[in-house]
């Protein structure tokens, strides 16, 4: 059987019964098993997938198909899934089986989607390369032309990006705290959407930085991302930061003309040392949108350069507190100690990897007595200035176009011992998190050595439809059809 190329295609074939959910799931499970060298999944859930497929087929037969009936998805292992090991890629959550289901995954299952497995990620979503996972790094399905060295799929949602890029799932969930959906989507050649803060419920998602975390979809194309978002989004009374507003039919937005939409290009994103191919890609993006009738103008986001440093105060501060619950008392790893304090210290030393430890320590430091104002409050002030920059820009334009990343995928190990070099991967994505804005990355071309590059569209709060309209336009214009060679398939 040839696998459907998209959710839209799968929906059509499932609806006209030329494909059953069971066949589709079996094919994906086979692809998933064959792709184990990618290390994209921490946990595969074939029994659950087949059971859910059975239910989907019964509904399809009765003509009671739901929005995502029979669509197999990969779920970032940061979403708590009832009865299924949930690790956040951390040793400290060893053996943790939630007795509850996250709101986003619950909504997906209620829409008929099927769980294939839980994808690998940077430990607690802290990273941009997937190398901080306790379960080892994910290998990108992509390789540089003429070079067999393994590359990063990006991070933190690297497993989800790789699964969709390698055709192991029709779509996937991710979370984006500083770029963790858009950056891996860009370097893996798939679409990744970070919704407005509050658009998707955070309930049941292992928290990294609560004021920044937002769930969103990975998909093969823009329309699929819209379809997935529609089922993931919505008000949740269990999340005090969830937005109580209706969920539009995002799919319709993919059909709308881009004509007349005003798109801003922020000069501050033209950072020193930006590779020419990124610069050129960005220019092409402007040209495509202009050709589609959009108006492209320069805008200024003057505090852009402070976004990443502000982020590296706010996110670790929140993380240091959010991760205090991993103490060996109620779930996960416990390393015995002489007394309770020793048990805490040993458990947390053994349970957290280097990057998590680094961020917890930084976060603890910036909140500690005497430093709170100098670091944390200062960063929160910069955050306001960054948000105000966007508000001013969105007074003039409807959306903003930027590259998603400063470059293509890098090799595993390449930036592993320089944390700040690693942090710079998120330089274009992190602003949207600080300001709570929606952003989408669309595959828009290949680098000189044949690796995917993405363009990012940012919109005002709750303007997902606008960026989907523009993203669909970019997608049509770029007609990105490259696929990685399936080197990982065992002979």
């Amino acid at each position: 059987m040839n696998l459907p190329a998209s959710i839209s295609e799968a929906r059509a074939r499932l609806a006209d019964r030329t494909l059953s959910a069971n066949e589709l799931v079996r094919a994906e499970l086979k692809a998933m098993a064959a792709a184990r060298p990618l290390n994209a999944f921490i946990t595969e859930t074939p029994e659950i997938a087949l059971a859910m497929a059975g239910e989907s087929d019964r509904r399809l037969a009765r003509g009671e198909a739901r929005a995502l009936e029979g669509i197999p998805l990969a779920i970032k292992d940061l979403f708590c899934t009832k009865g299924v090991l949930t690790t956040a890629a951390s040793h400290i959550l060893d053996g943790f089986q939630p007795t509850y289901e996250s709101t986003v995954t619950r909504k997906l299952w209620e829409a008929g989607a099927i769980l294939l497995g839980k994808t690998n990620l940077d430990e607690f979503a802290m990273g941009s390369s997937n190398e901080s996972s306790h379960y080892g790094p994910v290998k990108s399905p992509w390789r540089r032309a003429g070079d067999n060295r393994p590359l990063t799929p990006g991070g933190s949602s690297g497993g989800s990006a790789a699964a969709v890029a390698a055709g192991l799932a029709l779509g996937a969930t991710g979370t984006d705290t500083g770029g963790s959906i858009r950056q891996p989507a860009a370097v893996s050649g798939v679409v990744g959407l970070k919704p407005t803060y509050g658009r998707c419920s955070r309930w049941g998602i292992v928290a990294f930085a609560s004021s920044l975390d937002q769930a969103g979809p990975f998909a093969r194309n823009v329309r699929d991302a819209a379809v997935l978002l529609r089922s993931m989004a919505g008000f949740d009374p269990q999340d005090s930061t969830s937005a109580d507003r209706p969920v539009p039919d995002y799919e319709l937005a993919c059909e709308r003309p881009a004509r007349g939409i005003k798109v801003g290009v922020p000069g501050e994103y033209r950072v020193a040392g930006m590779p020419p191919e990124i610069e050129a890609l960005w220019q092409r993006g402007c040209d495509w949108l202009k050709a589609a009738g959009a108006e492209v103008v320069e805008v200024s986001l003057p505090h852009t350069k402070y976004a990443l440093p502000a982020y590296y105060i706010v996110a670790p501060a929140e993380a240091s507190s959010n991760l205090a619950r991993y103490d060996g008392v109620r779930y996960g790893l416990r390393v015995p100690g002489e007394d309770i304090q020793q048990m805490y210290e040993k458990t947390r030393a053994a349970g957290f990897g280097c990057e998590v430890r680094r961020r917890v320590l930084i976060g603890t430091y910036v909140l500690s007595a005497g430093y709170y104002d100098a670091y944390y409050v200062k960063a929160q002030k910069l955050r306001r200035l960054i948000k105000q920059d966007f508000q001013a820009a969105f007074g003039r334009v409807d959306a903003i176009l930027t590259p998603t990343t400063p470059g293509p995928a890098f090799a595993l190990g390449e930036k592993a011992d320089d944390p700040i070099a690693m942090y710079l991967n998120d330089v274009f994505t992190v602003t949207a998190n600080l300001a709570g804005l929606p952003g989408i990355s669309v595959p828009a071309g290949l680098s000189a050595d044949g690796l995917p590059l993405g363009l990012q569209l940012l919109g005002p709060a709750f303007a997902e439809e606008t960026i989907l309209t523009l993203a669909a336009e970019l997608e049509r214009a770029a007609s990105f059809t490259a696929r990685p060679e399936p080197w990982w398939r065992l002979p």
């Binding site: 955070r202 930085a209 005090s240 205090a324 103490d327 779930y331 709170y372």
Partner: protein, 488 residues
């Protein structure tokens, strides 16, 4: 603030002044917890009243309970305090096994309630004002049991996440007596408002007691905080012990170290807490899972309009409208149940009589039985019937006391007891005149003395008539008729 010298503690080197401030944790009366839908009821099986949120499972989020907010605002209004239109929930970060998230959601820089005040009533009938610094909402922790196993502590999260109001006073108290009066008054206000049941045995009200000593007129000394004291008597013992300890320390040439201490109720002493030795750095920051709490004018004025009459206002009204004295009025308003009982009893009756029967006779019986007014065997309506019989002259005051005793023991109504025991007072002049004639006839000598001018003998005659009637004669009527007969 000027103090009367009697509050000072005398010591070898001269007088010391004790300075006391209280941080009271009052459990908010609500059905569910502050940020979860789990129940707050006392005494459930371990971890039975725990939601995933209370257990800080990964990905769990807090959503605030409306009633807890209302209760805090009502309490603030009851303490004549500023209500902050915007307040912020912060995380207080520390590790402890009964603190599941590794942080307590509390309010630090911007509490829901600001400065207020409380009038305390002292034994000598005077009142004094104690400043309230603030009131904030926060989560309670779970419960650790340290004595169930030789090497383990057990953790039960049933209390984890229950709403507390932390009510912080200014260091305005100068003696254990004042601290006791403060706690009694605060508890009364909370109960009047219905915002906390004030049950100290169940831990609904706990006090952290800050004690320091200084020479009169000097700046504040170093204070020690005695944690979690759970009765008014213990608070007072802890203050007395701690003041003595600190004075002795200083008089011996040492100095007081700022410390967190524990009160041991068996020995009446305090000791340094071992687990809190470490310097704390709570790393407060605004909880990113919550937004600022905003209160509208309409919300606040609605609650303000719904407030019941509070003890001070009630006391003033009792004095003004019912002509009670300050002492009686404060006794009557000290507990809401007493005040309610009194008002029901005094309705349509003589207030002074009602007050006397309540605080004198009924309280005596309740004391004897170890009962509170809330579970008095004689209701206000029943006691009212007794007073009505008395007022109507149907029974004598003497008989009424016996009847009340009988009511307390048997639970019967006054009328029933009076009837079965034949205690109805004789107010029939003919019958009483008959008795008087008998007494006069049998005591000619005394009659002679009386008529010769020994008028105090009248009381003796009344006694004889009462005796002859087996206590049933109306004494006033007997008195009046005797006067007439003896005069003729």
């Amino acid at each position: 603030m000027s103090r009367d010298a009697s509050k000072l503690v005398a010591a070898a080197s001269g007088p010391w002044e004790v300075v006391i401030g209280l941080e009271v944790h009052a459990q908010v009366t609500s059905a569910a917890k502050l940020f979860s839908g789990a129940a707050t009821a006392f005494g459930a099986a371990p971890n039975a009243q725990v939601s995933l949120v209370d257990a800080a499972m990964p990905g769990m989020l807090p959503v605030i309970n409306r009633v807890c907010v209302e209760q805090a605002v009502k309490t603030g209004l009851g303490l004549a305090a500023e209500i902050n239109r915007v307040s912020v929930f912060d995380r207080k970060n520390y590790f402890y096994p009964d603190l599941p998230a590794g942080y307590q959601i509390s309010q630090y820089k911007q509490p829901i309630v600001g400065k207020g005040r409380l009038l305390i009533d002292l034994a000598d009938g005077t009142t004094r004002e104690v400043g309230i610094t603030r009131l904030h909402l926060e989560q309670d922790a779970g419960k650790s049991l340290h004595d169930q196993h030789p090497r383990h502590s057990y953790v039960d999260l049933n209390r984890a996440g229950v709403a507390l109001m932390e009510i912080v006073s200014e260091p305005d108290m100068r003696s254990a007596e004042e601290a006791g009066a403060y706690l009694r008054k605060l508890r009364a206000i909370l109960r009047y408002l219905g915002t906390c049941d004030g049950n100290m045995e169940e831990g609904s009200l706990r006090a952290d007691v800050n004690v320091s000593v200084r020479r009169p007129g000097e700046g504040y000394g170093t204070r020690c905080e005695i944690k979690n004291v759970n009765s008014i008597r213990f608070v007072q013992q802890a203050i007395d012990y701690e003041a003595k300890r600190q004075i002795a320390l200083i008089e011996d040439g040492g100095s007081v170290k700022q410390q967190t201490r524990l009160f041991d109720s068996r020995t009446g002493s305090t000791r340094e807490m071992r687990s809190k030795e470490e310097a704390h750095d709570y790393r407060y920051f605004p909880d990113p899972d919550l937004l600022p709490l905003e209160l509208s004018e309409a919300f606040i004025s609605g609650l303000s309009a719904s407030l019941p009459e509070l003890p001070d206002a009630k006391k003033a009204r009792f004095m003004r409208e019912l002509a009670l004295n300050a002492y009686d009025a404060s006794v009557l308003v000290a507990e809401k149940e007493t005040a309610d009982y009194f008002e029901a009893l005094a309705q349509g009756r003589d207030a002074k009589v009602a007050a006397n029967w309540l605080t004198g006779d009924l309280f005596g019986h309740l004391n004897r039985l170890g009962k509170g007014i809330a579970d008095s065997p004689v209701s206000a309506a029943r006691l009212g019937e007794l007073l009505d019989l008395l007022t109507a002259g149907s029974i004598s005051g003497r008989a009424a006391k016996d009847v009340l005793a009988e009511m307390v023991d048997s639970g019967q109504s006054a009328k029933a007891i009076v009837e079965t025991k034949g205690l109805t007072q004789v107010s029939d002049s003919d019958a009483i005149e008959g008795l008087i004639d008998e007494v006069i006839a049998g005591n000619a000598d005394k009659v002679g003395q009386y008529r010769a001018g020994k008028e105090p003998l009248l009381g003796w005659f009344v006694g004889q008539v009462m005796k002859a009637s087996r206590g049933k004669a109306n004494p006033a009527l007997a008195n009046e008729l005797l006067r007439k007969k003896l005069a003729s």
